[in-house]
Symmetry: D2
Subunit: 414 residues, 4 copies
Amino acid sequence: MVSSPQSINTIKTFNDPIYGFITITDPLIFKLIEHPYFQRLRRITQLGLTNLVYGGANHSRFQHALGAMNLMHSAISVLRDKGIEVTPEEEQASKIAILLHDVGHGPFSHALENTIVQGVHHESISLMVFVKLNREFEGQLEMALDIYDGSHPKHFLHQLVSSQLDVDRLDYLKRDSFFTGVTEGVIGSERIIKMLTVVNGNLAVEAKGIYSLEKFLVARRLMYWQVYLHKTVLSAEYMLMNILIRAKEVFNEELSKACSPWLAAMLQQQEPTSDGDPAWLEQFMRLDDYDILYAIKIWQHAEDAVLAELCTRLIERQLLKTRVSDDPFSAEQLKEWREKYAQEQGVSKDMARYLIFTKAVKNKAYSAESENINILYKDGALKDISDAGNIFRFASLEAQETKHFLYYPNGISF
Amino acid sequence: MVSSPQSINTIKTFNDPIYGFITITDPLIFKLIEHPYFQRLRRITQLGLTNLVYGGANHSRFQHALGAMNLMHSAISVLRDKGIEVTPEEEQASKIAILLHDVGHGPFSHALENTIVQGVHHESISLMVFVKLNREFEGQLEMALDIYDGSHPKHFLHQLVSSQLDVDRLDYLKRDSFFTGVTEGVIGSERIIKMLTVVNGNLAVEAKGIYSLEKFLVARRLMYWQVYLHKTVLSAEYMLMNILIRAKEVFNEELSKACSPWLAAMLQQQEPTSDGDPAWLEQFMRLDDYDILYAIKIWQHAEDAVLAELCTRLIERQLLKTRVSDDPFSAEQLKEWREKYAQEQGVSKDMARYLIFTKAVKNKAYSAESENINILYKDGALKDISDAGNIFRFASLEAQETKHFLYYPNGISF
Amino acid sequence: MVSSPQSINTIKTFNDPIYGFITITDPLIFKLIEHPYFQRLRRITQLGLTNLVYGGANHSRFQHALGAMNLMHSAISVLRDKGIEVTPEEEQASKIAILLHDVGHGPFSHALENTIVQGVHHESISLMVFVKLNREFEGQLEMALDIYDGSHPKHFLHQLVSSQLDVDRLDYLKRDSFFTGVTEGVIGSERIIKMLTVVNGNLAVEAKGIYSLEKFLVARRLMYWQVYLHKTVLSAEYMLMNILIRAKEVFNEELSKACSPWLAAMLQQQEPTSDGDPAWLEQFMRLDDYDILYAIKIWQHAEDAVLAELCTRLIERQLLKTRVSDDPFSAEQLKEWREKYAQEQGVSKDMARYLIFTKAVKNKAYSAESENINILYKDGALKDISDAGNIFRFASLEAQETKHFLYYPNGISF
Amino acid sequence: MVSSPQSINTIKTFNDPIYGFITITDPLIFKLIEHPYFQRLRRITQLGLTNLVYGGANHSRFQHALGAMNLMHSAISVLRDKGIEVTPEEEQASKIAILLHDVGHGPFSHALENTIVQGVHHESISLMVFVKLNREFEGQLEMALDIYDGSHPKHFLHQLVSSQLDVDRLDYLKRDSFFTGVTEGVIGSERIIKMLTVVNGNLAVEAKGIYSLEKFLVARRLMYWQVYLHKTVLSAEYMLMNILIRAKEVFNEELSKACSPWLAAMLQQQEPTSDGDPAWLEQFMRLDDYDILYAIKIWQHAEDAVLAELCTRLIERQLLKTRVSDDPFSAEQLKEWREKYAQEQGVSKDMARYLIFTKAVKNKAYSAESENINILYKDGALKDISDAGNIFRFASLEAQETKHFLYYPNGISF
């Protein structure tokens, strides 16, 4: 009856401020976590530059991936308790699928994808990495890949990984609320998971969970406007984009000194990346927050005045101011402002162009079209949540809400 | 520089699991808290029989009143920081108004008001008690009374006490979520309070708080259907109402032995109470949870079979089952079920009538008509939240949602 | 693949503000929870009159018993993961043992056991009830009984139910901290449970858990002095004891009118109860907080001035003041104070005796003698925590700390 | 009565996951927060490499400094309520003192101070920066400086900034517990602050707070061994130190390419820094986590095998294993192990020396000698907590506890 030291050693426990302990007993999963590709996620913050507004939001994608896997564990337990069969292999594969769902995320993904990582989206990078790891692990990730890309016959497992009610969202909304301190974004992940069931192979939610779902959709909407699309967060993000665009525009020997070889390569790349280029992938997987922010720190002293200005502003948190409008700003107006600014401040047109700009920001809280949320009634009826007779104007939830932002430096007089 | 013992003693600190410490420095307020009328609230649970479903929900109205006063303190600080004048006298009066807003609540208010407390609503009782206390405190509650009944010129102070966004709701939603464990009901009271402002003497919310308000309205709706109007909670509450109705119906010497004099008086009262009857008020203010539940415990052994059955069921938590429907149940159907049950079980018609019944339950999440919620935009515009272009179908939020419940004992075959 | 309604129905979920959801899948356990003896615990507050000081502390023994069972579930999972065998029968029995460990608790146990419940301790009542339930459930609780009384061969299961590190304490310390708002009493139940193991059939804690244990012992000590033995909490408790003693002393027809038959019987009982008297047990199990507090409410108007005074003071929360001393107060001094008070206030000697009294309060944080806490080192060595070379003076932890309290009414001049 | 937009704009609110909102109304304090020196703290994690063990621990020194200032605000309010005079100027100065107390912290302070930052401690750097800022702000920080260095006549203000019970510790223990998820480290900062008072110009704690203090000392001890001195956290930290030592040892043109100019300068510096060298300070204040980790990422591919090995291990989290002992490891034994390892693995002696090493780790929970913790009794007596008759063996709390750690790579056979 003495506890065996071996058995203890096969259990790996991760501390998590949200779930307390996350325990891993599966050696394959533990090996994946130890892989440098997964360890890299420790150096990629979940919310990029959001910590310039919400100072607590320094959490990493590493911790989010573990958390989502933890919720997958709960979800599978709940479904099994309700008589839904999930084999041990499927459980392992589902956990791997969610663990690796973000493995292809680069640093500051949104900013990079619109600037220097051209022609390839983080989700397809994740898939490339997934395939590569499957080779490395000699096919052990085959079923996980099937679940990830939706080809596994039990579609609900894919929906747990990727749908409008997947464990990815259930973790990140909770986690982002926790670390930003925006307590209103807290969702009842545990309660929603308790309400999950499967109907005709598809994920559904028991009818009594409808108020939790309403709350989930509202919390998500709140997190979008209050955090993810917060005007000052976006100000920082757009400034980062402009830095990368400008760096690419004026790239030279001097700037390259502040770049890791892989970042330099990306800044010099002229053609969009063709899907699946292994050399490109190799380089991309070395990139993390440290490459980007290190370069920006050094470029504060760049010869190019525009780049130096943008970098100094970002590092010293002199972010661009924002004006918000329901209607677009006109191109003429923008041109006028820029000219006035260039003249008044005695700066170049380029400088004005990089410091004064407009953006249209869109948010869509729910879409009934793809991987929608189904409600199961006690009489066996199944309805999309947008038909379930509740308080939302789903027309407007589905309609994109668009806000227009004007960014400009302090001191400008309009 | 030595701390003076006297100054320490004038501060009274209450521990509260939600706000940590609630500190009182005003002697008048402290005397009101010490008054037997206010201490009585310790023996009245905030949520009545809800603890039969949410076992943690044993919190008292006493703690809620302190909590709401604590939020009043925060709200006034926030408004002052924004340049809204609130004098020390108004601060004291506002705190007293919210402290006493529930002082006239009886035990199991909803159940009592529809059965043995006839012709008088808990809010008018609170007013009567308020007036009585004002006399006792020699007019020191005058301004508090004005704020309470809306006659004080600074209308926003009344709105903090009683409106669709008052500190009463901001406390009880948070508190009820905390103690029930329905974490999704948690609202960002602190954030909403930060967003409060005053426009033309009326309370308003800064536009950037609109997502918090959406969340507040949804959380409130969720708490209604998930807690306050939970079918099993209502089952217990309706059983309690039936107990009181039956006890009144068959009241006699035997039953009176289990009653405090004041409860006995109420069960014997034939006429509706005329507003402001001081003798009646005197008796009412002696009533608390212990009178009611003690009687029910004893009545488990009453000679009247119907009363004994109802009481035993409530004490042993053999609650009536529920069937929910969007449409009303027909009177014929109900009659048929009752007859069948009486026949099959060999019980009286009365028994069937008290065990099988229907109820229509209504909920209205928001009303634009009275003390509505106004949003203040940066350009100075003011809109009702239902016009503020957000995601809710306010038509349906304002429309009463009605659900129909059929209650029946276990073992019945329909 | 459609979820079967039956399978859903066999799962019963309890909401708990501390653990979120507590799920029951075992029908026998569910039947025990539904039993009137267990439902009675809903009407017995865990901390008696503590809510007069910590207003949030209205939680019931019902919720605590469920919580402790929930921790038993976790503890057994942890032990199994470490290779310790616990059969399904043993799991069920251990859960039942902890579920029922408090079933014999009466209302305000400490007060009652020292006054009207003579000659029998709540633990032996629990055992009597346990045996009675075992008969009612036709022997299905046999193994649970063995675990409860320590006769089951796997002694560690008994230790989980009852030892210096049992799940009872791990739940109540956490729960009492939560509801009182004394956040410093919060213990890392989850972390301690993770560190549990079994050596030679006895419960032990892995050496790396030693800091958590230190914290646990200090938190427990803090909860004792700050909550359980708080001078004002004790003031209320001693007043309750005096009420019961006085009521017994002067018991008559008038007082009996406020008593349930079972409370009246106890107040009239002259002989100590002999263990195992079934009629006595039957009555005892009808008693709850409502019998006691109802009587006290009515006795505010008793003819006996002493009883009326004590009851009014308790109901209106005019508690006796306290003076604390390291040394005992002398009998002469006490006599003198009482005489002076009787004279000055023109009250009877009895009144003075009931309002002015002293108490010695003892606390012992740890005992190495019975069911002690063992630490397992990596090299296999096992040490009692008091020998494990840590920061505590265990001599003083084991020594009883004694404080002396003098209680007296406001207005007395010493 | 319309709220004035101006007054709103002068309030700056920071979101904090621990305290909710931290509000700043003082323009000078706000300007200090905006200063690049203070903004730099956003890029310095509070706990360095601890996030390799506690994945949530990515919080920055920026947020800690704000949090400590927030507690200073509470502490001053509490003291004022007790009649201790703190002028508005002293309040501002105290807040500035605590805000800037860590401004001279470099990245990975402990590692740097023992390697490349020679002859100067982070506290004296903070002082240098403080003086520099005071010049920049034209003497407005004069009183803050006096409080910081202990020369202000109200010594208790200095003690709030720096003593064994300062708001620095009260914040970081709470914050580090929160982000690591080691909930047992949570301390009752709020309650301790409520108990603060001042006696003869010195900070003291009211006697009833003694249990909270015991808990604070135990929680601190727990955080030390469980987090700050966790063997794996130290493994990462020692590897970082070895990387910096090795980089300095073999520094050349190749390595410098991965270095910012300021990091390169430090790695080339031969002499200890003389206190107050402004050029050195200028460079130091440019350094943050990004310089260090970027260099390490690049050095994974360094020509020097030892440096490359150490860097790769740190980035891929292949940390050195640990053996813990109460007694020191002998120098001969260490030499033997290194030789064996070099031979078996075919690596250089240098490699063995950098991968196999021992460390003595010391912790001292309390010192009665400097800025000790005084307890104020009701009778006015004042005692050091170590004399206050409580459960700790203060002899051992004051004695340094020393543990010996042996570090070695996986795969070695001893």
